[in-house]
């Protein structure tokens, strides 16, 4: 067993190595980003200035955090290394190379996305291939209101007020209130009782009414505010950033519920493909609803919050004004990520987290234990979505110049999924690592292959610059073959996988793989595999 030596190694105190490593990599990182110093270093400078070397240095530097987490050291050393790396060294190096901020923020964004998707896929076992839709919702939310697009919208409604806007508003409000009330009433009245056909139909009708009411109200409000279009030529005041930070969470969560309600009754890959479809729907809508999103042309420039004291601090530290927004966003992302991790841990170790895992393991048994499938899945969906929503907004602020639907393509969803699996499904440190690895590969290491070989005489067709997908694919496949449970596996899964897997693994397929989840569901007790099963466990409201 390989575990034994690892354990022995880990038992030693690694405080000193960690500190040393952190110090060295920090130093090298800072030097390697500093053009002037490099120039003075001669040959070493050229070496350190090589894009590939820089990418490796950055990766090694970030690996400090991993070591701090993994190695057995004094607790203060972990905190020290973590804080110093993230709060001091990285910003410092970023002053000389703004792209570090960019990369770090992107890692943060993807880590949050991966954590959100981890709840949906890793904990609740719901394969969502359209996750980027929620990211888009958050991004466009601020992309529209934080840019001149809102003025365009208001102007349009000012010109197309409709005959009686006051009437629209009244009807909209009435419809909203009445339908919402009746929905509540139906729910209250039906509590604990079987939903009859009539009650579910009327609930459905009422929810349609609610949507219509909200739409009308929204429209009327837009028209009422049309006059403000002038003042909003560059979007809402940056102060609204904070409000929208909260709103983006909320909007994405609502979106999660709206999408989840119809589709979460589906199982496995049916769910996967339907979410994939809905993800595409959102992107195409963003591309087509030109009035709201400016379509393929992209939104006008987007604001970011301005925090005067932070800008002043950055200024005093020698950052240039164009770096202020990134400086701010970097720290904001750090804070949000910490919060998200906290939320993740707390949910994971709670009644709801257990319920998610139970559903993933065996829906029928979970339901028989009193877990309402639909509600529990919806909560997972909404929670995952909300992380994506808030990060979408950060992304919009980071992109600043414009956001276009190109940023929300299917490949992004697939990328986030690969982060989750690569890192270790269900494992919080794992998926963060997965996000960091994949983002570093895509933004730093793989491109640097091409940059580093730019002036070598490599034939075009086999130039590493053009083979990024190939290299990435190879890394993905090899990583999965050697660590199918992920880089930092979740304890549960690791245990499952490693049983029956050792030098004399079963001749064909190990037994427990087949007594595992899938076969279980299929081989269910007589009748449980029947069609009725699908109808009932779906949990008709």
């Amino acid at each position: 067993m390989t575990a034994a030596p690892t354990q022995a190694r880990r038992r030693q105190d690694m405080t000193l190595p960690l500190l040393l490593l952190a110090a060295v990599t920090s130093l090298v990182l800072i030097i390697s980003q500093h053009g002037d110093v490099l120039a003075r270093l001669g040959g070493l400078g050229t070496f350190l200035g090589n894009p590939l070397v820089r990418a490796v240095v950055l990766s090694l530097f970030l690996a400090n955090l991993l070591f701090a987490y993994r190695w057995r050291t004094q607790p203060w050393a972990k905190v020290l290394v973590g804080a110093a790396c993230l709060l001091l060294v990285l910003p410092w190096a970023g002053r000389d190379n703004t792209s570090l901020f960019d990369t770090a923020i992107q890692i943060g964004i993807f880590a949050a996305l991966a954590l959100g998707l981890n709840i949906v896929v890793g904990l609740a076992g719901l394969l969502d291939l359209g996750y980027v839709a929620f990211f888009a919702v958050g991004a466009y939310m601020w992309g529209i209101f934080g840019s001149g697009q809102i003025a365009t919208i208001l102007k349009y409604y000012g010109e197309h007020a409709g005959a009686t806007n006051a009437g629209t508003l009244v009807i909209g409000l009435l419809l909203t209130v009445i339908t919402a009330a009746s929905m509540l009433f139906i729910r209250r009245a039906g509590k604990g009782r079987a939903p009859s056909r009539a009650s579910s139909i009327s609930f459905g009708l009422a929810s349609f009414g609610l949507v219509a009411g909200l739409t009308l109200t929204g429209r009327a409000l837009l028209v009422l505010n049309a006059a403000k279009a002038q003042g909003l030529a560059t979007g809402l005041d940056a102060g609204f950033f904070w409000l929208f930070l909260a709103l983006s969470i909320f909007a994405a969560a609502v979106m999660g519920v709206l999408i989840g309600l119809p589709v979460l009754r589906l199982k496995g890959d049916y769910l996967a493909i339907i979410t994939l479809g809905l993800g595409e729907v959102i992107r195409v809508l963003a591309n087509n609803l030109t009035l709201y999103t400016n379509g393929s042309q992209g939104t006008p420039p987007i604001k970011s919050a301005s925090v005067p004291w932070l800008d002043a601090l950055a200024g005093r530290l020698g950052f240039s004004p164009d770096q202020y927004p990134l400086f701010f966003l970097y720290f904001l992302v750090l804070i949000i990520i910490s919060l998200i991790i906290l939320v993740n841990i707390r949910l994971d170790r709670s009644r709801i987290g257990r319920a998610w895992i139970a559903i993933r393991d065996d829906e029928v048994a979970a339901q028989a234990m009193g877990i309402p499938l639909m509600r529990t899945k919806l909560i997972a969906f909404a929670t995952g979505a909300s992380f994506a929503g808030i990060m979408g907004m950060i992304f919009a602020a980071k992109q600043a110049a414009t956001i276009t639907p190109e940023s929300f393509v299917l490949n992004q969803s697939i990328g986030v999924l690969s982060m989750v699996i690569l890192g270790g499904m269900g494992s919080i440190p794992g998926v963060i690592l997965g996000a960091a690895v994949v983002t570093l590969l895509n933004l730093s290491i793989l491109p640097s292959l091409g940059e580093a070989t730019a002036n070598m005489n490599i034939p075009q067709q086999v130039n590493p610059a053009q083979l990024q997908r190939l290299v990435f694919g190879v890394i993905l496949v090899v990583a999965m073959l050697f660590r199918p449970e992920g880089l930092l596996p979740n304890q549960r899964q690791a245990m499952q996988l490693h049983e029956g897997e050792d030098d004399n693994a079963p001749a064909v397929d190990s037994i427990e793989a087949d007594s595992g989840q899938d076969a279980h569901a299929e081989m269910a007790s007589p009748g449980l595999a029947g069609r009725e099963d699908d109808e009932r466990t779906g949990g008709v409201k």
């Binding site: 049983e499 004399n504 001749a507 064909v508 190990s510 299929e522 269910a524 007589p526 595999a529």
Partner: protein, 236 residues
């Protein structure tokens, strides 16, 4: 027919069989009994190649089959009714039986065997088209046994064939076991919780406890053994 020599089997780091040696002579019924988790199922799995023994030998007609894949072992004339029945849920009853006869290429023979199976379990004949997964527990058990008999095995491994069957059918099953052994001289290795019945039909018996052999000998003697009566037959 079958011989195990100092077989050690692991599930990951769980040591399930700690050196089992046993002999199943040709044409005999041998019972294997033991408490929960004793390793009975693991023994059968090791024999049929579902899991590989880490050390020791599994000799089938003198040939070491440890490490061969189940399909290779099955082609040597063995059949296994596994724990938990393992019916193909999305295949019909008929198709399940046809799959049982996979290694037989002669269609006529297959058809005959299926008829024989239906004769043994008329309920299966009634449900030919029903999907295996929707059968009741007992019906699945019947199907599992019928499926294993499709190839007319020389060596039959039975893992708790009476589980989930009604008392009347338990008797039928034991009748079938005896009949197979008598009329076709099928060698049978029988794992049963219903130890008294198992010991009644078997000639030899082995008693397993937490992965080790505790007793072996003539079934009749074992049935009379005081400790066995206490531990497995539920007698105080």
């Amino acid at each position: 027919m079958l011989e195990l020599k100092n077989v050690q089997t692991y599930y990951g780091h769980i040591h399930a069989l700690k050196g089992i040696s046993m002999v199943v002579p040709e044409g005999e019924i041998v019972a294997l009994i033991g408490g929960n988790g004793a390793g009975k199922t693991t023994t059968l799995r090791t024999v049929s190649g579902m899991i590989k023994a880490r050390s020791g030998e599994v000799l089938l007609r003198g040939r070491n089959i440890n490490g061969l894949s189940p399909n290779a072992i099955m082609q040597m004339g063995m059949s296994h009714v596994p724990e938990g029945r393992r019916i193909f849920p999305q295949l019909s009853v008929l198709e399940n039986l046809e799959i049982g006869a996979y290694t037989i290429t002669d269609r006529k023979v297959v058809a005959e065997r299926i008829e024989e199976g239906f004769a043994l379990f008329p309920r299966l004949a009634e449900r030919q088209k029903q999907m295996g997964g929707t059968l009741s527990g007992g019906e699945q058990q019947m199907l599992a046994i019928a499926r294993a008999l499709m190839v007319d095995p020389k060596l039959l491994l039975l893992d708790e064939p009476s589980m989930g069957l009604s008392p009347k059918f338990v008797e039928v099953i034991f009748d079938i076991i005896e009949k197979l052994n008598r009329e076709r001289s099928t060698t049978i290795l029988l794992v049963e919780q219903n130890a008294s019945m198992a010991l009644a039909v078997a000639k030899h018996a082995y008693v397993l406890q937490t992965g080790e052999l505790r007793l072996s000998g003539f079934a009749a003697d074992i049935a009379r053994d005081e400790s066995v009566r206490k531990a497995y037959l539920g007698e105080e």
